[in-house]
Symmetry: C2
Subunit: 65 residues, 2 copies
């Protein structure tokens, strides 16, 4: 399986938001819908910072208010 | 290997931009740097429309001028 883990970078650390993410879709500006391989869904606010698929990682960055 | 293929959606069809993408990084607004597992690099202009990692697909959408 080729899913990835989604992390939110905040204050210098990586917080794991969701494991085994299959689907990533933008909902609106800096708002993302994540769905994992188990069909669970989460919404995440942040800027997409990058992904490294071979390492199974997707990074989002918290946006300062 | 868990890379994906990057497609640009334009005028109702999917154009394959790069195969075996490992790294996706935003460069600036709607501008993306793609690097594949062979170390080749491409820049792509478009809106990230969604990804389906289990299907190994990343979709970008052309932005109307």
């Amino acid at each position: 399986m080729c899913e990835a883990n989604a992390y939110l970078l905040m204050e210098g650390r990586e917080e794991l938001i969701m494991e085994s993410v299959d689907i990533v879709e933008p909902e609106e500006e800096n708002n993302w819908r994540l769905v994992n391989v188990f069909g669970e869904q989460k919404y995440l606010q942040g800027r997409l910072k990058g992904m490294n698929l071979v390492d199974h990682k997707i990074f989002f960055e918290k946006i300062s208010a």
